[in-house]
Symmetry: C2
Amino acid sequence: MSTPVEKWAEQVRAGDVRAISRAVSAIENRSHQAEEILRKLFPYTGHAFRIGITGAPGTGKSTLVDRLAGRYRAQQKTVGIVAVDPSSPFTGGAILGDRIRMQGHATDSGIFIRSMATRGYLGGLAQATGDTALLLDAAGKQMILVETVGVGQGEIEIVRLADCTLVVLMPGMGDDVQSLKAGLMEIGDIFVLNKADREGAGRFEQQLRAILQIVPERDGWKPPVVRTIATENKGVDELAEQIEIFRKHFGEAHQRRARELAHWKEWLLRMLEARLMERVGRHLTESQLEKLAAEVAARKKDPYGAVEEILAHAGMGEKR
Amino acid sequence: MSTPVEKWAEQVRAGDVRAISRAVSAIENRSHQAEEILRKLFPYTGHAFRIGITGAPGTGKSTLVDRLAGRYRAQQKTVGIVAVDPSSPFTGGAILGDRIRMQGHATDSGIFIRSMATRGYLGGLAQATGDTALLLDAAGKQMILVETVGVGQGEIEIVRLADCTLVVLMPGMGDDVQSLKAGLMEIGDIFVLNKADREGAGRFEQQLRAILQIVPERDGWKPPVVRTIATENKGVDELAEQIEIFRKHFGEAHQRRARELAHWKEWLLRMLEARLMERVGRHLTESQLEKLAAEVAARKKDPYGAVEEILAHAGMGEKR
């Protein structure tokens, strides 16, 4: 006889939308059940191709993701979309946005779309996103698109879990090159110049290519630039083609194994860190941290003592 | 009656070189005594100005640091130098290098030089460097120069603890712009073009200035470029002047307080993380981690179970 979690896991594997949704919610809430079901599902993961899509707000990422998803669906590939929005609060906007986005694919069971929002200051979003990608992988989604707003370190961590990272840019963003944040340049496997019909696209592409020369090659891969107009579905085929070329470039079995091993070594340490800090976070509010920092800055308390205080408070103090 | 550690702390505060050296060794070895003495010394910190110096190997960082230190000494300012070399093993090279470097200042008690090398894979170097900077601060060093090879995330963390960060570059490094690693561009408060008498310096400076336009301004500060020839002591005065201008720019009391508060909020969380991961690391070897990662990659084990295994092994498992 199967336990409720086993049954739930079966439903996820069968691609049941409600079962998957419940599991994502469990992951977001860091509930005990989330880990239980993920452990059941883990043996069935490792088959999906994960594409990270990042870029500043307003570059048209969501439209691009939708078009790319549509193209994969036309090829009978199943698709999972995880949209990470660190700026939105947990309820309201994100969920509503999902409903609107889902409408275009309402009758298509081969696609699953879900937004994740940031909660608390002690990390965890990258972890939740990684877990959700694993879940969708186990649910049989072949292409997993993880979309995030590229601004800080946290977002860079999120896209680093992808097999291939797209950086989306557009011409005419303020001072043009200002939008080419240095950190973004290093993580892109493919650069997408969206809204390519806008004025200044040519000049922008030139600047982009010049700056891309700074970025060191990785395993013989030189990031290409693809022009798209997502709203008109232009350039999306070329983009999908570049993704395929990238996939083949890194697709050799022994290369894949080495990458997987490196990935899990890093990811295990991150999970450890996230788990320990989460435990601390349960007992430490932002204002408590602020107060302690102020006391340390004023030299009323030393940082070692402050750290011990936090750990003791969290029941994680060390006996000497 | 004062305890041995109290006496030791007194000696450090008096600038005793042997006492300081012993304390740095204690920090490197993460000995129990290190924390004890740092707690005693912490109330006397907060007076030094910390300058981070980073750049690729061969750019002449060490010579530049020595010249800058010499200039500060000529102004009767006391100096502490912490040289971080993540690539060198713990013993031998670094220590020997210190001896050679110290010779030029052998009879000068107003300067202290120490190298730190990386140990183990679970962080800790940024922590040790930060602690050493605090120690030298308490020892009355007015200018603390933290020198590190700018390559990875860890080194960037190290310079981030500085009040002002210099990025050292030189013309003719391979393909020129290749040396301008994107990550480095974002952390520099001042860019130093060393070996400026070399061929191609003009063209390199042009490229550098073009790329610096990408970097967003921070609190109204636009990073200047200073040309130096450290071996001939040229440009060092101009560099020291730019550092003073920077210091004044960010020197307003209320700005300083806000920066200090932000610094300690971040640093407390980092210390927490480092302490917890260090505790894990005491029970986890690199090969154990590698083995677990391989098992996870092969789907023989799930990552949640692997993390629990590591925590249980470290005596940090959570009771459910």
